[in-house]
Subunit: 108 residues, 2 copies
């Protein structure tokens, strides 16, 4: 089996209820993870061609949910369900980070 | 803050006690994660210079613990505590995947 072409990492960190700091988990990242996997299937990607995994805390909790695409190392912040199609169609299929989502703005 | 130079991902997936399939978690990956972070500090890396996070199941459960280094996309299998220094000294400091650890053999 070949190495996955892309590895999409979704921060799924959660915090106890009432915790003052936000988390990607409470901002809906578990749903994103599922939507990314579903979206890959819908687009005809083979299992293992693109890997989607959950990750522990990636750091920028105030700007979550955070999604990182490797090997490009592109960081997307405040990712919403409606961004999944953009990421899959533009970045994963065409190889171009989605400018509209301000990639890497968290590092600016 | 600049983007991390490396992102080391450690599979920390666990399974219920008695589950027939092995997991990176039961093979000691949580300890690896800690050892990687400690080792980075000991080597004088600044916080955020190299990111170490836990990951959900990466797939090759029989060959865990699995550690992946991005942006290189280098997969290490059956990583043991004594390999942490090799990964940090050779790969993270010098930029060369550790040949001795048969990188990417899981994809061969």
């Amino acid at each position: 089996m070949p190495k996955p072409k892309y590895h999409i990492m979704v921060c799924t960190n959660t915090r106890p209820p009432g915790h003052p700091k936000p988390s990607c988990g409470s901002a809906g990242s578990q749903n994103l993870l599922m939507a990314l996997n579903m979206g890959l299937m819908e687009r005809g990607f083979q299992p293992g061609e693109v890997l989607v995994t959950g990750s522990s805390c990636l750091g920028p909790c105030e700007q979550g949910p955070t999604v990182v695409v490797y090997p490009d190392g592109t960081w997307y912040s405040q990712v919403k369900d409606e961004h999944v199609a953009l990421i899959l169609d533009e970045h994963i299929k065409k190889g171009t980070p989605v400018a509209q989502l301000n990639p890497d703005s968290v590092w600016a």
